[in-house]
Amino acid sequence: MPMRPLSGEELAKAVNQEYPGVAVDYDEVSAWIRPNRIHAVAAFLKDSPAHDFQFLNSVSAVDYVEYFDLVYHLTSLRQQSSAVFKARIYGREDLRAPSVYSVWRGADFQEREIWDLMGIHFEGHPNMKRIMLWEGFEGHPLRKDFL
């Protein structure tokens, strides 16, 4: 049985059923959710038997200059399905997002890396330190304005 990618529409519908109004947008592969509800949505997607996304493939951040997208790639090993949800964070300074560390331990280093290289601070992460660069490094190198 091949992997079944969950379309953005399905995902948005499911999230909105549980938390109305949290999924704000979707396209064919991914759904956008409100950034302050990342943790709740993550816990819902992981624990609800209908979705069962036990496996977090990757957490990425993309710098679109006016805003940042946090991208979560999920896989359900039992249901052989995958999903992508995103959260859009506007601004450049003092960016904060809830951590999914307590949901998926696998987000540990990736969130630290995003903080290090993109400058999005994850709240609720027990060890939010720089990972690749040294403490005291100025700036976040993967941002588009870092030269």
Binding site: P2, N57, H73, G106, A107, F109, Q110, I131, M132, W134
Partner: protein, 368 residues
């Protein structure tokens, strides 16, 4: 009377014979027992993701060679699959077979190193390592025949592979396979049932499946934890849907299982290569794509493969330009290290080295 003892903090690495490069762990010991672990990364950080944003899509292939330098072919493959997804193209069948074949050869090479160093860290003075290198040398020679380089291969391109194999590649490959089975059997004989290896690794540092999944562990480590998950099976890319192979699964979740899974995967890789040789048909090996690729703006793709260390993913975002707008690398080595605390705390110094060897990290990929 109790004797007061103090915990002792030791920096293992970045210069240490068996931390696989410049990996550093600050470990607090109580005697020989580990009580606290803190991994420190970044000594080999080269900013590959940033570099990729400044290079065009084909040039990034050369960067991927340098991620996990023991499995460059698989890195190339992962990246090319991501770009092809981004462009919405499919490579010709012969290219897909060539990719599968070379990726499996690379997997053998990488696992030979992994097993060799694993046993080296157990203290076998280089013998299994040299036996592994003996066979790996042959594989690298095959790669040189294919693409002119041994480690930094840059063999694959978005839309196929850069060139077909030369004619003398096929007899050489067959010769290699013939010899390799004997050489590998020798290695199995030396290691697989060795009592010392058994008592050193059996029951040491087990990772239960639910922990492994929650920590996003992938690859042989995940399978050794008893989870039946292989992207080559679950989401067949290239020619993996055309070949048959088994997925070895560990049942004790310990160091020995991780070692055993790698040994068995080498066997399965040989099977895959043989099927590829039997099935490959003549034809073009590269799509007629322009040298400078421009995917549509706003598209994104997450291409992944089952690399030798685990799930290697490339998350590419395009803005319509000639280079990726964002190239996130989901590196299995880094994410497999999430379990390091679970893996090490409570075990002895000697086990710590072996456990690190058993998850087979590669610093080029951890730090990128």
């Amino acid at each position: 009377m109790t004797i007061r003892t103090e915990p002792m903090t030791v920096n293992v690495g970045p210069q240490h014979p068996s931390t696989h490069g410049v990996f550093r762990v600050r470990i607090t010991f109580d005697g020989e027992d580990i009580v606290e672990v803190e991994p420190v990364f970044g000594y080999l950080h080269r900013g590959t993701e940033k570099l990729a944003e400044e290079r065009n899509y084909v040039q990034v292939v050369t960067l991927t060679d340098r991620l996990d330098y023991t499995s460059s072919m698989i890195n190339n493959q992962a990246y090319c699959l991501a770009v092809e997804k981004l462009l919405g193209v499919e490579p010709p069948p012969r290219a897909r077979y060539l990719r599968t074949l070379t990726a499996e050869l690379q997997r053998i090479a990488s696992h030979l190193i992994a097993v060799g160093f694993f046993v080296q860290e157990l203290g076998a003075f280089g013998t299994p390592l040299m036996y592994g290198f003996r066979s790996r040398e042959r594989i690298l020679e095959l790669f040189e025949m294919l693409c002119g380089a041994r480690i930094t291969v840059s063999y694959m391109r978005p839309g196929g592979v850069f060139a077909d194999a030369p004619r003398d590649f096929w007899p050489a490959l067959n010769r290699f396979l013939e010899d390799f089975e004997d050489e590998f059997a020798e290695m199995e004989q030396l290691l697989l049932e060795n009592e010392i290896l058994m008592i050193r690794t059996r029951g040491v540092s087990p990772i239960p499946p639910e922990v492994a999944i929650n920590n996003s562990v992938s690859g042989p480590v995940l399978r050794a934890s008893g989870v039946n998950w292989d992207w080559r099976k679950q989401e067949p890319y290239d020619a993996y849907d055309q070949v048959e192979f088994d997925v070895p699964i560990g049942s004790n979740w310990d160091n020995y299982d991780r070692f055993w899974v790698r040994i068995q995967e080498v066997r399965q890789s040989i099977r895959i290569i043989k099927q590829c040789i039997a099935q490959i048909e003549p034809g073009p090996v590269r799509l007629d794509l322009p040298l400078v690729l421009r995917p549509e703006a706003g598209r994104e793709a997450y291409g992944r493969v089952e690399a030798s260390k685990g799930e290697l993913g490339f998350y590419l975002v395009s803005d319509g330009g000639i280079s990726p707008y964002r190239c996130k690398i989901r590196s299995p080595s880094l994410i497999n290290l999430t379990v390091i605390e679970r893996l090490l705390v409570g075990w002895k110094l000697a086990d710590m080295i072996v456990s690190l060897g058993s998850i087979d990290i590669n610093m080029g990929e951890v730090d990128r």
